[in-house]
Each structure stands twice: as structure tokens, then as C-alpha cells.
């Protein structure tokens, strides 16, 4: 139930953020500095989420089959594969490495 609460708050914030752009005076948001922070934060968050999902296991670092998924995904992206193919490649790499005995 607690998780439901955070989900709904997050959904509300997501909509209010979008809506704020339509009502906040353009001057405020148009400041190049605000735009840069929103953009660099997007890059930072996605990079961090990639790393956390690849090597974090609770509060420790683990080097397991997920690293193989990271490498395979990077190769797929480098070969300009579409998003869905990249995701499937990542999943297949992790599953295969586990079959081969690498946790």
C-alpha cells in the first residue's frame, strides 16, 4: 500500500512538472542555466541508473552476468540496433552467461 502512495505521488509530480511549463512565465524556465541543469541531470541520472543496475547489489558491488549484458547492449547500440533489440540482446547475454555458469 505504501508503494502505491509513492507511485501516485510520482505520477502527480510528473504531470505537474509537464503542466508547469505551460503556466510558468517563459522567462523563468528559459534561463539557459535551468535548461542545462535539467539536461545534464537527465544524463547523470540515466548513467547512474545504468551503473546501479549493472553492478550494485544492495549496498555492495557485484560483478556478475549483468556486466555481460552491459557490454552486449553497448555493442548493439554501437551497431545502431533499435531500442527493443538492445534490450533483448542485454537480456539474452545475461541469460546465456548464467547458463554457462557465470552468476
Amino acid at each position: 500500500m505504501n508503494l502505491w502512495l509513492w507511485i501516485l505521488i510520482a505520477c502527480g509530480l510528473a504531470y505537474l512538472t509537464k503542466l508547469s511549463g505551460y503556466f510558468v512565465p517563459a522567462k523563468l524556465l528559459r534561463s539557459p542555466r535551468m535548461m542545462r541543469v535539467a539536461g545534464t541531470m537527465t544524463i547523470g541520472l540515466l548513467a547512474s541508473l545504468t551503473v546501479v543496475n549493472a553492478v550494485a547489489s544492495g549496498q555492495s558491488l557485484a560483478f556478475d552476468a549483468r556486466l555481460g549484458a552491459l557490454a552486449a547492449g553497448a555493442i548493439a547500440l554501437w551497431l545502431r540496433a533499435p531500442f527493443l533489440v538492445v534490450v533483448i540482446v542485454g537480456s539474452a547475454a545475461a541469460a546465456c552467461l548464467r547458463l554457462l555458469g557465470w552468476r
Binding site: 510528473a14 504531470y15 511549463g21 539536461g39 547512474s48 550494485a56 549484458a69 547492449g73
Partner: protein, 250 residues
């Protein structure tokens, strides 16, 4: 019939299919991370912003708390506020129209509209991409959630590896040039250093602060990181200003 002759509508439809399809991966990952079918659908119906949705389930899957997940999702959605401001200036929606329009203001609808020069085409592009993605994203989220439930043990299928690849796939289009790579590397390093010292989920917020600080104090492109996950104009055939055409060209 005339509507289908519009270039913006064509672009909007193809971007809808490309983006909507990967709702499957969101649905499957959400259910593998332990979210119920209706929780998963709530994300796609009400949050409706791919990056934020993946962020929320990614934090929870890593053992993070609900509040950390919410914060990561909210921070990742900040750029939608900038898009809202841009679309308000570009499309000038009247009174009540702002409310539904705000909901479908995301990377792809903004990029589709910005790539057109004619105001009517901009409007058609925005609504075709926005509504098309909304409908398909939700249909394919449901398909993914049901499939994810049927798969059983997520690790056996490497779904944790799918999450890694998904985040890398969301990050990739934003890494054009040396500066975004440097920001990504700094954020990744901050994350790895923070993991042993703070509760799960918090390292992501530490990285957000690091990246935000870099943005605040450095001077570079003001649209850094504002690339859509799926580029509506991959070959630079956008009819808009040269600057945006250049940005869209690979």
C-alpha cells in the same frame, strides 16, 4: 486521407510505433521487479514518461525505498517542464487544451513538433506522436506486464540484464560529443563511490546532484541531454531551422 499526406503525421505515426513497441520492455521489467499489473499500468497511464517510469522501477528493483524511487523519477521528469515551455511557445494551445496537451508532452512529441516549420504541421506532428505513443505505449505495457508474469523467474531470462541494456539505450542518444560523455562518466563514478555508504537508491540521487552541479557551473549547449529516445528525424530530414536539423543529424 489528406491527413495521411502530411509529413508531420507520417513522422508522428512511425515514431509512435517505434516508441510504443518498447512499452513491452517496460511492462515486462516492471512485473519482473514485483509491481502488480495495475501498478505497472498506472505508470504508463498517469506518469507517461519512459525515463521516469524506468527510473522508478529500477530504483525499487535495486532495493531502494519508495521515496528514493519517487525522487529519481521526479528529477528525471524535470526536462518535460522545459518541453512544456517550448511547446507552449511553439503551439500556443488555448485555455483548456493545455491540460491534455501537457500530459503528452514528452521527448518524442516535442522533437516531432520541433522538426517542422509550418505551425499547422508542428501541431499535427505533436498530437500524432503524443497520442499515438500514449495509446501504443499503454497497449504494449499491458502486453509486457502479462508476458512478464507468465515468464516466472526473471533472472533465468536475464531480465536484470535487460534493465541494464534499457538504461544504456535511454542514455545512448544523449551522448553526442565529449561533454555528455564526461558528465555520464562523472555520474557513474559518483554512483560507484556512493553505493557502499548510503542506502540503495540514494547513489542515483547523489549522481543527479553531481550532474546538476556540473550543469550549473559549466557553460555549454543549453539543450544538452534533451534528445528523444527514438529520433523522429534520424537522417536530418527535418524541415525546421538549420540548428535543429544539425542537432538531429547523426
Amino acid at each position: 486521407m489528406k491527413l495521411l499526406e502530411s509529413p508531420a503525421v507520417k513522422v508522428g505515426l512511425s515514431i509512435s510505433i517505434a516508441t510504443g513497441l518498447y512499452g513491452i520492455s517496460f511492462g515486462a521489467l516492471a512485473s519482473a521487479s514485483g509491481f502488480s499489473f495495475w501498478q505497472t499500468m498506472t505508470f504508463s497511464l498517469l506518469m507517461f514518461s519512459g525515463g521516469s517510469q524506468f527510473a522508478f522501477i529500477g530504483v525499487v528493483a535495486g532495493g531502494g525505498s519508495g521515496i528514493a524511487a519517487m525522487t529519481a523519477a521526479a528529477l528525471l521528469g524535470l526536462r518535460n517542464g522545459i518541453y512544456g515551455m517550448q511547446m507552449n511557445a511553439l503551439l500556443r494551445p488555448s485555455g483548456w487544451l493545455k491540460y491534455p496537451q501537457a500530459h503528452i508532452t514528452i521527448d518524442e512529441s516535442t522533437a516531432t513538433a520541433s522538426g517542422q516549420r509550418d505551425p499547422d504541421e508542428q501541431r499535427r506532428g505533436f498530437w500524432t506522436a503524443g497520442l499515438g505513443i500514449f495509446v501504443l505505449w499503454n497497449i504494449f505495457t499491458a502486453v509486457g506486464a502479462l508476458a512478464g508474469d507468465a515468464l516466472g523467474d526473471p533472472k533465468r531470462w536475464g531480465l536484470d540484464g535487460a534493465a541494464v541494456a534499457a538504461f544504456l539505450g535511454l542514455l545512448w542518444p544523449r551522448l553526442k560529443g565529449r561533454e555528455p560523455w564526461a558528465i555520464a562518466a562523472a555520474a557513474a563514478l559518483a554512483t560507484i563511490i556512493a553505493v557502499p555508504f548510503v542506502p540503495a537508491g540514494v547513489p542515483i540521487l547523489v549522481a543527479a546532484v553531481v550532474a546538476g552541479t556540473i550543469g550549473w557551473f559549466s557553460h555549454g549547449r543549453s539543450d544538452e541531454g534533451m534528445e528523444p529516445d527514438v529520433d523522429p528525424y534520424p537522417h536530418g530530414q527535418s524541415s525546421a531551422d538549420p540548428a535543429s536539423g544539425e542537432r538531429n543529424a547523426k
